[in-house]
C-alpha cells in the first residue's frame, strides 16, 4: 500500500483527531510533502466540519426539549398498561395452591397422561431409517450464488427503470402537449414508491458489479426525491423545470440504453 493510499484510508480519522500519536505524526509528515494528499485532507476536513454542524443542529434541537418531564411522560405511558410482572413471578402466582394435597391426584394423573402421550407420540412419529442415497443434499457454489444475486439485481434494476421511464414520460409528454397540470398526488405517490424501491435496490447494487446502472439510477432517484418532497399542486413552471432536468441529463436516453444493455447482459 502506497503512502498516499494509507493517507486516504486514515484521513477521516486524522481529521477527526482519533488517530494515535504515531499515525498523526506520519500523516503530518506525508501531508507536508504531498500536495494531492493535502487537498484530500482539506476536503475531508470540510466534510467533517459539515458533519459537526449537523451535530450542532441536533444539539440545538435537543435544547428545545423538556428532558426533565419526558421520563415521567414515558413512565406514565409504560406503567399505564396492564401491570407487568416478571415471567417466573407470574408463573409462581398462577401455580400457587396447586401443591396442596387436594390437587395432588389431579397433578399425578396429568403427569402420567403427559408421559404416556409423549411415549406414544415418540413411537408413532419417530423417523424411519432412510437409505442414504434417497435424499440428495442441496448445494450451490458461491459462484452460482453470486450469479443469482447479479441476476436478481439486474431484474430489480430493469423493473425500477421501467417504472421510472413511465413516470418520466408523463412529464415529457405533458410538456409537448402544452401546459397541462399533472395530478400532483399521483406523481408524488409514484415518486415515493420509486424512492422506496431505490432504497431497497441500493442494498442489492452495493454487492454486485453494476456501477453504471447505479450511477444512472442515482440521477433518477435525485429527481424523484425532489418530486416527492413538496406537497402542493405541481405548477407549470415546476413541471417545466423537471422536464428540463430530464432532457439535460438525457435520462430517457440513458434509461433506454441501460435497459438494452441489461437485457443483453452487457453491464
Amino acid at each position: 500500500m502506497s503512502e498516499c493510499d494509507r493517507f486516504e484510508l486514515e484521513a477521516a480519522a486524522f481529521a477527526g483527531g482519533t488517530l494515535d500519536a504515531d499515525g498523526e505524526a506520519r500523516m503530518k509528515t506525508h501531508a507536508r510533502s504531498c500536495p494531492d494528499c493535502r487537498r484530500r485532507l482539506s476536503e475531508v476536513e470540510e466534510l467533517l466540519a459539515g458533519a459537526a454542524a449537523v451535530r450542532g443542529d441536533i444539539d440545538s434541537m435537543m435544547d428545545s426539549i423538556d428532558w426533565e418531564t419526558l421520563p415521567e411522560t414515558i413512565a406514565a405511558r409504560v406503567f399505564a398498561g396492564p401491570s407487568r410482572q416478571p415471567f417466573f413471578e407470574r408463573l409462581r402466582d398462577a401455580m400457587s395452591g396447586w401443591g396442596t394435597p387436594r390437587w395432588r391426584p389431579v397433578l399425578a394423573a396429568a403427569l402420567a397422561g403427559l408421559v404416556i402421550g409423549a411415549g406414544g407420540m415418540f413411537f408413532a412419529l419417530r423417523p424411519r431409517a432412510v437409505p442414504s442415497g434417497d435424499r440428495a443434499g442441496y448445494f450451490a457454489s458461491s459462484e452460482v450464488i453470486d450469479r443469482m444475486e447479479l441476476q436478481m439485481a439486474r431484474q430489480e434494476t430493469l423493473d425500477y427503470l421501467d417504472r421510472s421511464q413511465t413516470l418520466l414520460l408523463e412529464f415529457v409528454q405533458n410538456g409537448s402537449a402544452g401546459p397541462i397540470p399533472l395530478s400532483r398526488a399521483d406523481a408524488v405517490e409514484k415518486a415515493r414508491a420509486l424512492v422506496a424501491k431505490k432504497r431497497y435496490l441500493n442494498v442489492q447494487l452495493e454487492s454486485v458489479p453494476l456501477a453504471k446502472a447505479r450511477g444512472i439510477c442515482d440521477q433518477i432517484e435525485l429527481l424523484f426525491i425532489e418530486l416527492a418532497r413538496s406537497g402542493e399542486e405541481l405548477t407549470p413552471a415546476e413541471a417545466a423545470e423537471i422536464r428540463d432536468y430530464i432532457e439535460r441529463k438525457q435520462l430517457l436516453l440513458k434509461i433506454k440504453l441501460l435497459r438494452s444493455e441489461l437485457t443483453g447482459n452487457e453491464v
Binding site: R39, A53, V54, M61, P71, A75, P86, A196
Partner: protein
C-alpha cells in the same frame, strides 16, 4: 485491565434494569433519563424530524420495557437499547412516514449554489452542512448508519460495532467507504478539484 468507571456504570445500569423489570417506576425513569438524549439523537439523525424523533424516544423505551425480560447483564445495555431504537427507525422509514415528509432544507443539492472558497465558517458552513445532509441520505444503508452513528451521535467505533452486531474492522471499512463516497458526491457542488 477493566475500566473501573465503565464497570461501575454497567453495574448501575444492570441494577436499574433489574429493578425496572420488577416494576420499579423510579428505576425505569432513571434509565430513561440516562439514555433519552442518545436515543433522540439517533432518531433525529435518521428521521430528520423533531416530533418523529420524540415519538421514537417514547416508542423505544416502551419497547425496552417489554423486552426487559430478555436483557442479560453481560450485554452492553446502551448498544442493546440503540439497536432497539435503530430497528424502530428502520420500521418507521419503511412505512415511509418520515423520510419524505421532512427535510432539513427545501432545496435540491443540484440547485444549491456551490459554497465559495472562504474558510469553513458562517454561510459556507451552512451550505456544506446542507449538501452533506443531502448526500448522506444517498449513501447505502450500512454506510449511512455508520457515518450517522459516528458523527451525528458521536459513538465510538466499538460502540457502533456492538450496536450493529458487526466487527470494528467492518465499521472502519464502512466509514471509509462512506467518507469516500460522500467526497465523490459532494465534489461537484463544493468546487473541489477532481
Amino acid at each position: 485491565m477493566t475500566d473501573a468507571p465503565a464497570e461501575e456504570l454497567r453495574e448501575d445500569v444492570s441494577r436499574l434494569a433489574r429493578a425496572a423489570r420488577s416494576g420499579d417506576r423510579e428505576a425505569f425513569r432513571e434509565l430513561t433519563r440516562m439514555y433519552q438524549k442518545k436515543v433522540f439523537a439517533l432518531g433525529y439523525s435518521f428521521l430528520r424530524n423533531r416530533e418523529d424523533a420524540l415519538d421514537l424516544v417514547q416508542e423505544t423505551f416502551l419497547r425496552l420495557y417489554q423486552k426487559l425480560d430478555s436483557y442479560r447483564p453481560e450485554k452492553n445495555f446502551e448498544a442493546w437499547l440503540l439497536q432497539i431504537a435503530r430497528n424502530l427507525c428502520i420500521d418507521h422509514l419503511r412505512r415511509g412516514e418520515a423520510r419524505l415528509r421532512s427535510r432539513t432544507s427545501g432545496t435540491s443539492v443540484e440547485d444549491m449554489d456551490p459554497p465559495d472558497n472562504r474558510p469553513v465558517s458562517g454561510e459556507r458552513l451552512r451550505d456544506i452542512r446542507d449538501i452533506l445532509n443531502r448526500c448522506v441520505e444517498r449513501l447505502a444503508d450500512r454506510q449511512r448508519t455508520v457515518f450517522t452513528m459516528r458523527h451525528f451521535i458521536e459513538l465510538r467505533n466499538e460502540e457502533i460495532a456492538e450496536t450493529l452486531g458487526i466487527t470494528t474492522g467492518t465499521v472502519k471499512s464502512l466509514h471509509f467507504k462512506a467518507v469516500r463516497n460522500l467526497r465523490t458526491m459532494m465534489r461537484p457542488y463544493m468546487g473541489w478539484e477532481r
